[in-house]
């Protein structure tokens, strides 16, 4: 009940959030331009999806949590029976729902049906899971929007850079580092799902789940420390 009330509150705020609306329009516009080039859609689709997922989920989860801290509305929530985990969970849930909807719209813009839809779904799901876990962690740790940007910007640059830069042509060391970034497995999964090309499903899934589980564990530990150090 409390969780659904919190989610409802998030949705009320979302419908008046012009930044998010602008972001959706921008991503759909970008997808529409890339979709015109049907031949290269397999290259662009993973990039558009990954950027949308990371930037979208992070905007929802991190901004919403950090803004609550900045405006002190979190204090008003904490003196109700709502638990911190429910508050973060509601924000994460809204972020996930938003990302799923945005991905569905983006896929519609690209128009062609994917060759291996389940693999594509797996890639999208793992990307959303990782983005949510990392967003929640940044939201828990950051004190305000400025510090959240300090954490988020370099990580986003690294993740998006890992997706768009043709790192395979770089030297051995760079290629090895890029190979283990959390964007790489999901990019390959989405690409494989779109084109039907074979990808190491189990390996990529395990890598992404390990990253996500690690972030969730760190986030939960910090949250518990914050709660019990009161």
């Amino acid at each position: 009940m409390r969780f659904f009330s919190l989610v409802r509150g998030e949705l009320w705020a979302l419908k008046r959030n012009r930044r998010i609306l602008m972001f959706v329009v921008m991503m759909l516009g970008m997808a529409a331009i890339y979709a015109l080039d049907a031949q290269d859609s397999a290259t662009f689709l993973p990039v558009v999806l990954i950027v949308s997922i990371y930037a979208g989920v992070w905007q929802m989860t991190v901004n919403s949590l950090v803004e609550e801290k900045e405006r002190r509305t979190l204090e008003a929530l904490l003196v109700t029976p709502a638990r911190p985990l429910e508050i973060i969970g509601a924000k994460a849930f809204t972020g996930i729902a938003f990302a799923v909807l945005l991905c569905a719209l983006l896929l519609l813009v690209f128009r062609q049906p994917p060759e291996a839809p389940l693999v594509l779904l797996l890639g999208v799901g793992l990307a959303i899971g990782f983005a949510t876990a990392s967003g929640a962690l940044i939201g828990i740790v950051a004190r305000d929007l400025r510090t959240s940007s300090l954490y988020r910007t370099p990580v986003l640059a690294l993740l998006v850079g890992g997706t768009v830069i043709p790192w395979q042509e770089s030297g051995w060391a760079i290629a090895e580092v890029m190979r283990w970034l959390p964007t790489r497995p999901v990019q390959e999964l989405i690409w494989g799902g779109w084109t039907g090309a074979p990808v190491p499903l189990a390996q990529y899934t395990a890598v992404m789940l390990a990253y996500t589980a690690l972030l969730l564990a760190v986030g939960a530990r910090i949250l518990r420390q914050q709660a019990t150090s009161g």
Binding site: M1, R2, F4, S5, L6, R8, G9, W12, A13, R16, N17, R71, R72, T73, E75, A76, L77, L78, V79, T80, P81, A82, T228, G230
Partner: protein, 235 residues
């Protein structure tokens, strides 16, 4: 209703409260006075179960707020400095959100809004309200679940005299219904007008506690004089 027994609270090496003893009776309006950093917010955090005393015991309605935070917060309404409403939500959405968190009906939210004379603001965005209107809505949000204890932090800070007078009337109305009120304020006239008893904190220590009239008689012609004398002496 509230009891703090030999409570000390430290954050790392900083001591926020030292050996505080406080007993607030049911239905009483109790003022918490003190300069910034005196320990008023820490006292609220302890009472709401958001912080655990380093030493001593806190009891609210017989419960330990740290152990039974959920049960304690269900009996508590809080209006923090500035109202702290969600600016992107309408007044009604702000109330419905909290009604859901406390598990009460929409009817209760509506009644609270009517009681605070704010039903005409229902569809307005909270971010567009005047300070006085925000405080009335924040008060409605704090009482929608029928709390036995109300914590008010600087409820009339920045309000014009008319809005202040209106809010005082609403607070007195709640008091007549038997709600225990814990009022934190810098406004001596407000404390004197509303409170049965007052506790003055200075650097985490209680320097005086009693009825405003008794404090005035003992420490100065006015409560402000008494406050300056007591907190000045403590420095």
């Amino acid at each position: 209703m509230i009891q703090l027994i030999n409570v000390t609270k430290r954050y790392g090496t900083v001591t926020a409260l030292t050996d505080l003893n406080l007993k607030i009776h049911e239905g009483e309006t109790f003022g918490l006075l003190g300069p910034n950093g005196a320990g008023k917010t820490t006292t609220l955090r302890l009472v709401a179960g958001l912080a655990r005393p380093t030493e001593g015991q806190v009891r609210v309605a017989g419960l330990d707020p740290w152990e039974r935070g959920d049960a304690v917060r269900r009996q508590m309404g809080v209006v923090l400095d500035g109202g702290l409403l969600y600016n992107d939500l309408t007044v009604w959405e702000n109330l419905l959100l909290f009604a859901g968190l406390f598990g009460v009906s929409e009817r209760a939210a509506h009644d609270a809004l009517v009681q605070m004379g704010a039903s005409d603001l229902k569809n307005r965005l909270a971010g567009k309200l005047s300070k006085g209107q925000r405080q009335r809505v924040a008060l409605a949000r704090a009482i929608l679940h029928g709390p036995r204890l109300l914590y008010l932090d600087e409820p009339t800070s920045g309000l014009d005299p008319l809005a202040t007078d209106e809010l005082h009337r609403l607070i007195r109305n709640l008091r007549s219904q038997g709600v225990t009120i814990l009022l934190s304020s810098h406004d001596m006239a407000e404390v004197e007008a509303l409170c049965d008893r007052v506790c003055i904190l200075q650097r985490g220590r209680m320097v005086a506690c009693g009825a405003p009239a008794a404090l005035k008689a003992e420490h100065g012609p006015s409560l402000t004089d008494a406050f300056i004398q007591l907190t000045g002496r403590a420095q």
